[in-house]
Subunit: 416 residues, 2 copies
């Protein structure tokens, strides 16, 4: 007996025809003898409509009331899918966040899940009933509905899978898995059969928009095997592909990945801008002043590079910010010129961060050197470099994005 | 300190502009020093859209899932109104049925309220917070959302008023009160300043569609003073009219009505059909067979007239059914011809029931005689008569509806 959580996003439940298609996926899993809980988003467009209503009502709307309004979208989908399943002869029941209960903290509008009581659901699942759970919502300590923020349904699904001790969480989405890189840029990109949690976390946060970063973090922490597959697959097609699974990508513990590649994928993030502060005094507290003032202005800083000072007196600091915050970041630093004490600020808008990701890096030397060499061979100048245990990121001119990604994709043997 | 419940229906909250108008009504009451709870319906059209979605999902949809889907409409309105009120500087908070808790029985889709815990709301009201309550919904014993059936928001409002011991329940609707009869038929119809619960019950059930019958019953049982007024009034207009109230009709205990009229109003119900069973055996059990078989076929029977048998052996039974059930009623009686034992069935579709209503009838003789005389004077034939303590109903040909209503309206001195 396998216990599964199936999650379907807004485009997968955009209308009744698609909801019926979702129901056929559920039916297939039930008929295969599995216990099934389903997590659904609002029908595509509904959440935007409800958010618009709140904004029109007041520019500064109360997050608690916003949550009451916006969560109604998932409530509708869960009820409608339960009706469709019953119509197909499947015992099913919808569950709102407060009915489970899926408890969150008090951060209305972007709440975090604190606790899920899986007991009642497990009981129903064991009786053979399908649980259709409204995603994106829970109940806050004040007994009010709280939403988890955009993309929260992925997190709902993974958290629910952990709470009911599911064997797998299947994320049905509009792509059929996680690729070695964006197939629109590299036609020879391959779908990965498996990817380790840590790698997926880097892929997700670096711009591969398959899964919300928070849901991957949660899957990693709780060890929830998460399977990404296409909701547009024929529900009645044979379900046996690689590793006993249909086409898709399994995000799992690295131990489950028998043939670990050194490099798993190449990610890239456009919409970054580079800021360099030249000849800043190399003394304690400077970095704190720079990044503290940016944080106060609510500007997220990503890559940060600071070299050893050559003369022991001044150094350069380079970092990236979202492109939309570029002008504002320059303004903040201009204001703080006295406090920071620097000679000049330089920057560039047209930059891209390209990252090479792979668990295998930890045990293989020379991965970074090959990256730099490969890019240099193509005449691509590297503006900045940062690395972590399983990632190498380089900042380059965005005009070279495609060339760099394709070069690295070939270089690490990822071409299909 | 006056505690008020204000109820606004779907047309009054149909869009944000109207919701803002509702908020101005609430604001006026708050600024007058009142404690205010508001009950809202779904935005006009929303409930129909959600019902359509359930029907399309399955012709035989589960009432519990239907309730989860359909109740989302009121959830949205309550949240949006709370946001708009806060934007106007008024402390407000939305409440869903399960949060109050407003408990119902298990009759999903047409649930009856069993209990409302007014404690939490009273506490908030006393702190000066406006409670915006989603109408039409409660929570059933199985911890699932239950809806109260069409028009249930009126019932929510009155039940809530009883639970929080409100001084008055103001029903804001698209008419400005209860009239002596339909003004479209009698231009000289007057708005009543006050009407007794019992009278309103007869008016409501006889076709004056201002308030749901169930809400009037509940108001009568709990003694909730209910005030019907127009939601299209200027919220900032002076609020002092007859009896210290703005234009509208107060439904109240008869003791509160100082100048009790003998006759309060003339109601009429079209869409009735008459069925007469001729020469049926005058023996025990016949009426039971007739009406039992109609009840089994789910046909509501209204007026029932049976005379003393002239010869002690056979008699005639006349009754009315909804016009839409007329053919079906004839079919049922045809099937039961053997069991009932009658000579013939006659009937008529084009009939109307006209009723004269007034608490004063109990103490005034001759009211009925004047009615029959007045109609005879105009050459209107009476097909059947039924009476109660406070009501005389006559069944006549529908061609005479306007003439009969106008005649009776004048006859009892109701013309404005």
């Amino acid at each position: 007996m396998t216990r599964l959580v199936l999650k379907f996003g807004g485009t997968s439940v955009a209308n009744l025809e698609r909801i019926r298609n979702v129901a056929r996926h559920v039916k297939r899993e039930v008929e295969a003898g599995n216990q099934v809980a389903v997590v659904v988003s609002a029908m595509a467009g509904e959440t935007n409509k409800l958010v618009g209503l709140c904004r029109e009502a007041s520019a500064l709307h109360d997050a608690r009331e916003y949550d009451a309004v916006v969560s109604s979208g998932e409530q509708v989908t869960s009820g409608v899918l339960a009706i469709v399943l019953q119509d197909m002869g499947i015992d099913a029941r919808s569950w709102q966040g407060w009915q489970i209960a899926l408890r969150t903290d008090a951060s209305h509008g972007a709440a975090r899940i604190t606790e899920i009581d899986g007991g009642t659901l497990i009981e129903r699942l064991e009786q053979g009933q399908v649980a259709v759970v409204a995603g994106f919502q829970g109940v806050a300590p004040d007994n009010r509905i709280a939403t988890l923020g955009r993309g929260g349904s992925d997190t709902s699904a993974v958290a629910l899978a952990a709470a009911i001790k599911a064997d797998r969480c299947d994320i049905y989405t509009d792509v059929d898995g996680v690729y070695t890189t964006d197939p629109r840029i590299v036609p020879r990109a391959r779908r990965l059969d498996r990817i380790a949690f840590e790698e997926m976390l880097e892929m997700a946060s670096l711009g591969a928009k398959v899964l919300q970063v928070r849901s991957v973090e949660m899957a990693m922490v709780h060890g929830v095997r998460t399977f990404v597959r296409s909701s547009f697959d024929d529900p009645d097609a044979p379900q046996v592909g690689a590793g006993g699974l249909p086409p898709g990508t399994l995000i799992c513990d690295e131990d489950e990945i028998v043939e670990q590649q050194v490099v798993t994928g190449i990610a890239f993030a456009k919409d970054e801008a580079q800021v360099s502060i030249r000849n800043v005094a190399d003394k304690p507290g400077v970095a704190s002043t720079v990044f503290g003032s940016l944080a106060e202005a609510n500007i997220n800083v990503d890559m940060i590079v600071q070299n050893i000072s050559p003369d022991g007196r001044t150094t350069d600091i380079t970092f990236t910010v979202p492109e939309g915050d570029y002008e504002r970041a320059l303004g903040v630093l201009e204001e703080q010129r006295e406090a920071i004490g620097y000679e000049a600020i330089e920057g560039a808008r047209d930059v891209v961060k390209v990252s090479v990701i792979g668990m295998g890096m930890r045990s293989h030397a020379g991965i970074a050197a090959r990256c730099f060499h490969g890019l240099a061979d193509k005449g691509i100048n590297i503006r900045a470099i940062t690395t972590s245990e399983i990632k190498i990121s380089v900042l380059i001119d965005s005009a070279y994005t495609e060339l760099a990604v394709r070069t690295l994709h070939s270089l690490y043997g990822l071409d299909g």
